[in-house]
Symmetry: C2
Subunit: 354 residues, 2 copies
């Protein structure tokens, strides 16, 4: 194998591939008439990216992903040559040679399941930033580490929960196709939210799920772990509704949260035309802040973990939100008053007040 490529685009492609796989994997590089294909797999995922390159001698190698990505990121030269020299892949620039060992590992490129539909990449990224962030990073029950991806005739629905909150986002599908219903590892979708652009294809066949966009294709085994559903959450007993600007509420939660107790809990006291946030902690003192709000219904005043409220409100940045509050230990439901293409519903479980 022997090729020349633009350093920046090669560096981006290698870093993107390494991030879509889990850490410490090798990467497969394949030079051919179509340029360079970069890819590989770990236990659950497989990924493939293409990158413009001029191949002087076609071929295929597997090298350690980390040092290759790090070296390319730090190069100042515009162009870089990758060339096999004996048992090494040499990364060559003027005055520099960085030689990676060739690994004997067998890696595979993704074998994509059928494309069932497609969505707008930026809408998908917006939805995933909130939804994938709501799944648990680590949980004995795999259900809480995944995002349920459901496609209907005109709509994609994404659902995740870590037991304490649940996020549900819907966005329009760009094409009708076979329905999909898969529980997909949240970590992969969080990385997808950072990389996806343009039109994103959805692929699925029951046991595998895939995504594809601008030169990138990735598949993963789906989690076989039951399905999250909004129906698990009681929301028929709403008795108090508050409308307020999401950013102003988040800023107040941050400030009042400094004075929250060890559990980081603060109370939303619902008043006439206002929402009063209050917290107190033995050593630190107490804080209260009052925001103008449109209030209707009762005056149910729940308490929440500050960071759960902040996570929820981040998904509504720039929007006015409606909080539908239920009495007792039932979830508060947060929605944008005027939702855009991505419709987000966020459920936050209250905490016992102090």
């Amino acid at each position: 194998m022997d090729l020349t490529a633009a350093t920046r685009s090669l560096s981006s492609a290698v870093s993107a591939a390494a991030r879509l796989l889990t850490a410490r994997s090798g990467l497969l590089l394949r030079a051919g008439r179509d340029g360079l294909t970069i890819g590989g797999n770990d236990s659950e995922r497989a990924v493939r990216l293409t990158c413009d390159a001029v191949s002087h001698a076609d071929g295929e190698v597997v090298v350690p992903a980390g040092p290759l990505a790090e070296t390319l990121r730090m190069l100042d030269d515009d162009m870089v040559r990758l060339v096999v020299e004996g048992s090494r892949l040499a990364v060559r620039v003027e005055g520099g040679r960085f030689a990676l060992p060739l690994l004997s590992r067998e890696l595979r490129l993704p074998d994509m399941p059928p494309r069932v539909s497609e969505v707008d990449g930026s809408a998908l990224a917006t939805a995933l930033r909130t939804v994938a962030g709501t799944a648990a990073k680590d949980d004995a029950l795999p259900m809480f580490t995944g995002v349920r991806v459901q496609s209907f005739s005109r709509e994609l629905r994404l659902t995740a929960s870590d037991r304490y909150r649940m996020a549900v986002a819907t966005l329009p599908l760009r094409a009708e196709g076979e329905p999909v219903d898969a529980l997909v590892p949240a970590g992969l979708l969080a990385e997808t939210a950072k990389q996806a652009r343009g039109v994103v294809g959805l692929h699925g066949d029951g046991t595998r799920f895939g995504l594809s966009w601008a030169g990138v294709a990735v598949t993963t085994a789906v989690l076989d772990a039951g399905f999250l559903s909004e129906k698990l959450i009681e929301s028929s007993t709403v008795d108090t509704t508050v409308e307020v600007a999401a950013d102003a509420l988040a800023a107040a939660v941050r400030r009042v949260g400094v004075y929250a107790d060890e559990r980081r809990v603060l109370t939303l006291e619902v008043g006439d035309s206002q929402l009063r946030l209050a917290s107190s902690k033995q050593d630190t003192g107490e804080a209260e802040e009052t925001l103008k709000a449109e209030v209707s219904g009762g005056r149910t005043s729940p308490s929440f973990q500050a960071r759960y409220l902040l996570d929820a409100l981040q998904g509504f940045a720039g929007d006015r939100v409606r909080l539908d509050i239920q009495p007792g230990m039932r979830a508060c439901v947060i929605r944008a008053v005027e939702p855009g293409d991505v419709e987000l519903t966020y459920y936050v479980m209250p905490m016992l007040p102090r």
Copy 2:
């Protein structure tokens, strides 16, 4: 106590005071005719800052530093009121009240030792960024955690070492005065490098050392732990001299360092008109990079820890440096070819080659 102040300048002053003291201390606030004085002390240091404020009722309180600094930093309002209400200091803005407990702790403001001289704040900051960073963060011998501050008739000299390298900086004094020779905790000087501006006064009386600038005064007990000196380092056997651009060398060290062994050691191979960096590591492969350099004398080719070289070169960013290399396990001496007001000499101990 009852006063009104501009939120931003009050926030800066409170944060600056908290950072100059070690963590978790209370802060003394004193409102009077001259505005607000903020200060306090920990076991070794005392600090005082002044801040413009309109006092409606003079008085003095001690409150927890952390939550006060955090609250002020997050406020959006231009003006803020601090007012004692019972056993609380209330931080008040429209719609918000943040109430900190009054602490019964006795705090003292610095009693400055005599001012012996003064230096330019930005030159001092430049010198301290490198020198204070060279001291050990933590060491059984306090000598290695301090910066030796020596004033001569026209020059201030700053020296620090962590055993593996030593930095010595000299800068001009703006006024002649009593000589100072003190070992000062490096942590305080590192923070000073971030904050000091304008003209900085030097204060000392043998057991205490102090600094003052634009509304800020800080004193510390000096370390009683022997004195660092360049004379401890052999530098009479230089046989190889290399001149090279500091930034180009640092960039190459970063790239080649990716392939360094577990000890992070790389070799500088001195050749004719060039410097060749080389490293290798079993699993990662090997790297080499060649830089143009002016070489004179022999061809002694030492090995160094990559991060020590990077720390050293950071102090010469933008400059061309001369490396004076000695054979055997003797220090390499790094200096700017054309030093400015701040003259820096950096000694790095070599490592055994792989």
